[in-house]
Symmetry: C2
Subunit: 323 residues, 2 copies
Amino acid sequence: MSHQIAVIEGDGIGQEVIPAAVEVLESLDLGLEFVAGDAGDAVEAETGEALPQETYDLAAESDATLFGAAGETAADVILPLREAVDSFVNIRPARAYPGVDAVRPETDLVFLRENTEGVYSGHEDDLSDDMSTLTRVVTTAASEKLAEFACEYVDGEGFSVVHKANVMRKTDGRFRDAVVRVADEHGVDTDEVLMDAFATRVCLDPTQFDTIVCPNLAGDVLSDLAAGLVGGLGLLPSANIGDDNALFEPVHGTAPDIAGEGVANPLATVLSAAMLLDHLSYSEESERVETAVETVLAEGPRTADLGGDANTEAVTQAVINEL
Amino acid sequence: MSHQIAVIEGDGIGQEVIPAAVEVLESLDLGLEFVAGDAGDAVEAETGEALPQETYDLAAESDATLFGAAGETAADVILPLREAVDSFVNIRPARAYPGVDAVRPETDLVFLRENTEGVYSGHEDDLSDDMSTLTRVVTTAASEKLAEFACEYVDGEGFSVVHKANVMRKTDGRFRDAVVRVADEHGVDTDEVLMDAFATRVCLDPTQFDTIVCPNLAGDVLSDLAAGLVGGLGLLPSANIGDDNALFEPVHGTAPDIAGEGVANPLATVLSAAMLLDHLSYSEESERVETAVETVLAEGPRTADLGGDANTEAVTQAVINEL
Ligand SMILES: CC(C)[C@H](C(=O)O)[C@@H](O)C(=O)O
Ligand SMILES: CC(C)[C@H](C(=O)O)[C@@H](O)C(=O)O
């Protein structure tokens, strides 16, 4: 069975790292079919829409989507795209690689971020000239769905539930209760950590944690914190998983300072492509790509962000040679 | 003019570090009048209320309040107390001290956290069996008030405005616009950073930032992140400032593992007392206390959390001897 992969480069280095990841995928000869879609600042400037309906539909209809990055329009592109693929969880591994400068080289975490609600539900109002409100939504259904996924994901291990239920008692209380209840039903161990305490503790000793299950904004901020601990966003992949559908993207942005020069680090996107392979049940190929990236990080050419002087193409070829 | 200081020890090591800080204050012979109030888990167990009305009133009527920590009832104690003193800003310095183990020894930050609204406004509802909502409130008035304070606080320097206005467009958009407008009016430079990007960047290089102005929950989480970078909560003071009134507290909690042993580190509370002195215009005394703490940290006895074996009393006396 051939899979259709939507490929949305977006802006800036998205246009360099996505082709690199596609090259890696193509070198595996899996007969994947790539279909390009447009989104981002440039598209908005041209058409008035950062995410044209046909790109939304393409993501919704494809088996998986690979997305690069968008500039000023990032939120207008990525939030609807996550919705297009009906994604209920955002998987964000944050792992330090040997030989790559990291504040905390022992970091090896995976965030499972709720991906549909919380403050992202989008209900905001200007109540008066002086006041705006945002309605933060938490449902038992979304919390349970995330928890079911988490229980399967950790495969016999436990996970940490990170929340702020001491202040957001009803909403994060509902989240926490639902997640812990589902975990209990599956015999999965959980420990609870308040999100502020988590921020302190993960800096002091990231090895205290493995898998972290949390609401949407907590996952956004705390996974970016973990990115800081592993040395930056340059190597962080992510996956947005839906029932029939998924979207994979590097955590980094468009890097306007280096865009167009062909020197962007493609590895976060290549690792996102590895997550895509795993999602489509090409588990063996997924592991081969990951191992190839590790080998290149340990021995191969490096882009400038990792202290090397190789360009995007050289690093991409090095990965392909290791496959 | 003599000042009345409300003294609320709370639970756990609050009962050890607050007396230590009071000893330091008394040694200065300023004629401060200390009045004790009760709050916390033990009070709740006894009376059914974590924060008795008379303690609330005491804080509201005193010139300043020194608070230790509360256990399970922390939110029920500290959130109303912040309201009792009409506090619109929570000042949280996070600074690494020479000789104290820190992930990022070059960290020297001050968070000015909005202290009245955001997700802390407390409007939560269970809309159905499946759904809860929380109404996040942002007003121009509170944002401007914080910004006015920030402009004075930075005394000619600039500050960073940290927010998530790309997602919370109306609420954090209102916050950002109000803060930037007030700063512009005062000729104060600002730069804007998204809160997730801030979490990454502060780990990679905390010297990029100095003073950070942000909404309530952002300040909670990001200042705790900074606490992780400076080696933990043990040395972090904080101030909740109102127009006529203020409350000072260490950022740490009740430390149940060591409570009752007389070995808690009193320095976060002593530094909070120094902030109290400054607030009451005893600036010279405030600086003397800070300098004494620095000297003790560099040369003097240390509690176990800093790798020493001195007890609370020995460290407190060492500070007093340096005054
Ligand atoms: C661009 C923005 C809307 C997005 C988010 O907040 O989810 C980004 O920060 C991310 O984490 O992918
Ligand atoms: C105890 C809790 C309500 C409080 C807060 O969230 O403000 C604490 O974390 C703090 O930062 O002082």
